[in-house]
């Protein structure tokens, strides 16, 4: 199965602007993307992020061992949005470099912990996580009934100019 993601350039810019804001004590910011989903042929899924949920300053935990640690309120708000709006939810954060980014060991451990929680509220949707660099992005997607996440194989950033990222 191939997972692709299509997102508007405007939304990507909004995400980058929010994640670039300094936080009073966390070293970096994180956010969530509410997403619609569609099936394509042959055996593919497209994820469409359409709304960005920023994590409020007070919803970070003061943990110097990581760049940013979300508190329970941050996750709860994202879960609530997924439930109320009937959508998939993708976590997002940035690695500050150029080129294709990838998740650190800590990122993988944490996303493995909290992403499957979204199935408690929206069990039929895929959920996942994105990591952005200065000029690219990568992602993982947890499909329902699959324990291991799938790498997102393609990104279409829709705007002028279009940007295609293919794994």
């Amino acid at each position: 199965m191939k997972i692709n993601l299509r997102m508007s350039r405007k939304l990507l810019l909004q995400i980058r602007q929010d994640l670039a804001r300094p936080h009073p004590f966390a070293f970096e910011r994180v956010g969530f993307l509410a997403c619609k989903v569609a099936e394509t042929k042959p055996r593919g899924v497209i994820v469409f992020p359409y709304h960005y949920l920023q994590v409020e300053d007070e919803d970070y935990l003061n943990d110097v061992s990581v760049g940013a640690m979300m508190g329970p309120a941050a996750i709860r708000k994202a879960l609530q949005f997924a439930y109320k709006s009937d959508v998939a939810m993708f976590h997002a954060h940035v690695h500050d470099h150029y080129g294709s980014p990838w998740f650190s060991d800590i990122d993988l451990r944490e996303t493995n912990n909290f992403v499957p929680d979204f199935w408690h509220v929206r069990p039929t949707f895929p959920h996942g996580a994105l990591v952005l660099s200065r000029d690219s992005l990568s992602g993982l997607c947890w499909m329902p009934r699959r324990k291991k996440p799938l790498r997102i194989s393609g990104f279409n950033i829709i705007g002028f100019p279009m940007m295609f990222i293919r794994e």
Partner: protein, 265 residues
């Protein structure tokens, strides 16, 4: 850069890779669509979904690029003609043929990066645009018309780029409820679907130019053409005057959150 694409290296050092990985649908492979398919093959586009339920007839030979007398005699599907044309230019191109109505394989179209619409009716355009919006696909539409006037004929046409999250064909004033309702009476006033090769070629070239502006722009400040109007009597292609009244406007016809499968389960 691939050797046979060297002369277009100004489109970007990796433009050959961008084109080769791009998946494009061409809906309608008549006079306009066959031109577009041919040009995209020359550009190095690597993945095609070709859609047309029709086969070649004798009366298509005045404009259908790649079609021969034999194709007319054998009633070759138009998708087969365009696939043959593409493969002769680029043998590595992947071509999926859909020799039926595009709606029957809508999921294949939804997986494409860009859709070209070369259809005859406003209703068909509206349906394609609707799907492209839902699946966040840029939609490039072309069409030409021949209208009978008291002193002769007027050849006209248009190329429209409908970008998700931007102005749609209704915003641009190209599609209206009245037009959709009156289509049968108003379209092709010069007789049964009049078509000739050169306006199709001009409009197809404008569409492919817009496609390249969109995915491999040759200047940083380049913005793709959104609405070009063609006056076949003066041989002029100009940006539509309607655009100047739409600066800063947002589309109200397609709410941005209406994406994906409405009832995902």
């Amino acid at each position: 850069m691939t050797d046979w694409l060297l002369r277009q290296s100004f489109l970007g050092a990796k433009s050959d890779e961008v084109f080769s990985k791009c998946r494009v649908a061409v809906i309608g492979l008549g006079g306009g669509g066959s031109h577009i398919a041919q040009q995209l093959a020359h550009l190095g586009v690597g993945n095609f979904v070709l859609v047309d339920p029709d086969h070649v007839e004798e009366t298509n030979l005045n404009r259908l690029v790649g079609a021969t007398k034999k194709d007319a005699a054998r009633a070759t599907p138009k998708t087969t003609v365009s696939r043959r044309l593409i493969r002769r230019i680029n043998p590595t191109a992947q071509v999926v043929r859909i020799p039926k109505e595009w709606q029957e394989e809508g999921r294949l179209v939804a997986g494409c990066d860009v859709v070209f619409g070369c259809v005859d009716t406003y209703i068909a355009r509206e349906e394609i645009e609707r799907v492209c919006r839902r699946f966040m696909i840029p939609f490039i539409d072309i069409g030409m018309d021949v209208t009978e006037l008291p002193d002769g004929y007027l050849i006209s046409g248009q190329m429209i780029l409908s970008m998700p999250d931007d102005l749609c064909m209704r915003c641009l004033g190209f599609l209206t409820e009245e037009l959709l309702a009156q289509e049968a009476a108003r379209y092709g006033a010069a007789g049964g679907r009049p078509q000739v090769i050169w306006p199709n070629g001009i409009l197809a070239s404008a569409a492919v130019g817009t496609f390249v502006q969109l995915i491999a722009p040759w200047r940083r400040d380049l913005k793709p053409s959104v609405y070009l109007e063609y006056d076949g009597n003066t041989q002029a292609v100009m940006p539509s005057n309607r655009l100047q009244h739409l600066v800063g406007k947002q589309c109200k016809h397609f709410p941005f959150a209406d994406l994906g499968d409405p009832f995902w389960r």
